[in-house]
């Protein structure tokens, strides 16, 4: 019987020497996409150690549990509800503490690590341009935040459909809330990444993001309360909402999508509405611009 090439004994290691690669080389766009997916998975600890999954996955669960309870309540026949106990668009403000913790933990994970370990030069010595790197990181963080907000909204929506509430009304409402969620995700990610990119120390990044977001929200909300109720000045109280990203985007979606506001004082009138929309866009643009400026300075 002639020896067959396939009949070589298994488990033998052959040193076949160096082999050149002559397969596909993907361009900048594909590399940017690969970095996006890598960063998005990283934000939930996927493809990383079990320990890195604990925090993002628990926060994701914590975000979903209230939505699930809301969906169940809607389906309890004895209550005989005709609508969800909480409108979709108010879910973000209600859970903004969880969002802040997620952002504070995962934005530094995404960008500070590359700075701390000085891995950034390895990216920029590859076909990727700096703007691609920033774009991929920004998009991935925004997508991670969007999933964090969007999945609970969809759970509520499914609950509403099972409870046989108006399909048309709820489809419209959830779509609007998802658009609002996208704006929240982009604004919060921009701020989170910008702060995280300033320091290679992860701990500083975490602390700074929590401080900026929680402090601004707490300060704005309490000052709004004082102005509106103690000083009887709802206009000034409304304008104050510009100074916290959460109340800013809340005002944005209230004016653009005509949703109910969750803030102590909503943006005052049409001028206020336009002001909130403009400031939202300026804020996103500023985060993008400053991130680009930051990475131009990164030493290689």
């Amino acid at each position: 019987m002639p020896a067959h090439p396939d009949s070589a004994p298994a488990g033998v290691i052959h040193d076949i020497g160096y082999r050149h690669y002559d397969g596909d080389r993907l361009g900048r766009a594909a590399i940017t996409r690969a970095l996006f997916w890598h960063s998005l998975r990283g934000a939930y600890g996927l493809g990383r150690s079990a320990r890195s999954k604990i925090l993002p996955m628990s926060l994701f669960a914590i975000m979903c549990i209230p939505a699930f309870i809301i969906a169940v309540i809607a389906n309890v026949g004895a209550l005989n509800l005709s609508d969800l106990p909480l409108p979709y668009e108010r879910y973000v403000i209600t859970t903004q503490g969880v969002l802040t913790i997620f952002l504070a933990a995962q934005a530094p994970q995404s960008v500070s690590r590359d700075l701390r370990f000085k891995t950034v030069p390895l990216y920029f010595s590859r076909p990727l341009e700096r703007v691609d790197y920033i774009g991929a990181k920004f998009a991935a963080m925004s997508a991670a935040m969007f999933i964090l907000i969007g999945v609970p909204l969809l759970i509520m929506y499914i609950g509403a459909l099972l409870a046989e509430f108006s399909v048309v009304t709820h489809s419209r409402e959830v779509a609007v809330a998802l658009l609002g969620a996208a704006v929240f995700a982009i604004v919060l990610s921009g701020i989170g990444l910008l702060i995280a990119s300033m320091t290679p120390r992860r701990g500083f990044g975490v602390a700074a993001i929590i401080t900026v977001l929680a402090l601004s929200y707490g300060a704005v909300t309490s000052l709004q309360g004082i102005l509106r109720y103690a000083q009887n000045d709802p206009t000034a109280a409304g304008w104050l909402g510009l100074f916290s990203p959460v109340t800013l985007v809340d005002g944005f979606q209230m004016w653009v999508f005509d949703t109910t506001s969750s803030a102590v004082a909503p943006p005052p009138g049409t001028v206020g509405g336009i002001g909130f929309v403009l400031v939202t866009f300026v804020l996103i643009g500023a985060c993008w611009g400053l991130l680009n400026l930051r990475y131009r300075k990164v030493s290689i």
């Binding site: 020497g17 160096y18 082999r19 050149h20 690669y21 397969g23 596909d24 080389r25 993907l26 361009g27 900048r28 594909a30 590399i31 690969a34 970095l35 890598h38 493809g47 990383r48 150690s49 690590r113 590359d114 370990f117 000085k118 891995t119 030069p121 390895l122 990216y123 920029f124 010595s125 590859r126 076909p127 990727l128 341009e129 290689i300």
Partner: protein, 297 residues
């Protein structure tokens, strides 16, 4: 094809000139770039990678201009920085796969090439452990692997022997030589030690204060200059005039004559001219790349 070519390349930082009119022209092979700390080695590498702009002058890599074709150059080039650049909390395999993807390799190819490359640089079972626990020698191998994983045409290695003990140093130098001989990849390797690079390089470039001090082949075969250096005992003027009359292009540099070589008959011409004038011929050799050769630093 020249893998690296610079013309009057200058880079000024506020208050300091890192590169000062540097012109080099280098063929494929192992190229040693030697200079003291601050001589401009890292600056040159960054300009060649197209990640730092030059103040003036031109630089080409693989016949591509670094200013206009930076992205295409970086597709074909590997870079190993001098400093630490490895995340401590992932394994060598995960890290190199990611870097392969960042060089444009599809997912499956990235995994295959990573396994191959880590084996070639001499990392085996430990490649599944987090990099944070590696020795300096192992880290240097991972840094080298990420520069090679996408099978570049040339790798730029910035001080790869830094921090290694004598045995590790020899192993790394051997590995660098193999990159050229076994893998067929050109190498630009920097060091502040001339001795260690002369052992493995085909060509050595010495720079100091951003200026070219010396650029020479370490073997006779890589010489590409088409100029003959002629040194005679006497009557330099007369020899120059006679050669010019015979149709050769001659430049005089004190006691030396530089004769442009058009074909092998020029050797005969120089020999007969010198013999006819009755002067002694001290030196007749192909010139190395540059006019002023400063030996020693």
């Amino acid at each position: 094809m020249a893998v690296i070519r610079t013309e009057e390349l200058t880079k000024r930082f506020p208050g300091v000139t890192a590169l000062d009119g540097l012109s080099i022209d280098i063929d494929p092979g192992v190229i040693g770039l030697v200079g003291a700390n601050g001589a401009g080695k890292s600056t040159l590498i960054k300009i060649l990678l197209g990640i730092a702009p030059a103040t003036s002058g031109r630089a080409m890599m693989l016949d591509l201009d670094v200013v206009t074709d930076g992205s295409r150059i970086r597709e074909q080039v590997g870079y190993m920085p001098e400093h630490d650049c490895l995340p401590a909390d992932v394994s060598a395999t995960e890290f190199v796969v990611h870097m392969a993807r960042m060089s444009g390799l599809p997912a499956n190819a990235a995994r295959e090439r990573t396994a191959d490359t880590l084996r070639h640089v001499g990392l085996y079972e430990e490649r599944y452990r987090p990099i944070g626990g590696y020795s300096t020698g192992m880290k240097q191998r991972v840094k080298l692997a990420q520069a090679l994983v996408h099978d570049p045409q040339i790798v730029l290695l910035d001080e790869p022997t830094n921090g290694l003990d004598p045995v590790g140093r020899d192993e790394m130098l051997g590995l660098i030589r193999r990159i050229r001989t076994d893998f067929g990849i050109s190498v630009l390797v920097t060091s502040h030690l001339l001795g260690e690079l002369e052992r493995i390089s085909d060509h050595v470039v010495v720079i100091d204060g951003g200026r070219l001090l010396r650029s020479s082949s370490t073997s006779e075969f890589t010489r590409t200059s088409r100029t003959l250096v002629v040194e005679v005992t006497d009557q330099v003027e007369a020899v120059a005039a006679a050669l010019t009359d015979a149709g050769a292009k001659v430049e005089r540099d004190r006691r030396l004559l530089a004769v442009e070589l058009s074909d092998d008959a020029d050797y005969d011409l120089i020999r007969s001219t010198v013999a006819r004038l009755g002067v002694g011929l001290i030196r007749l050799e192909q010139r190395r790349h540059h006019i002023v050769e400063v030996f020693g630093t």
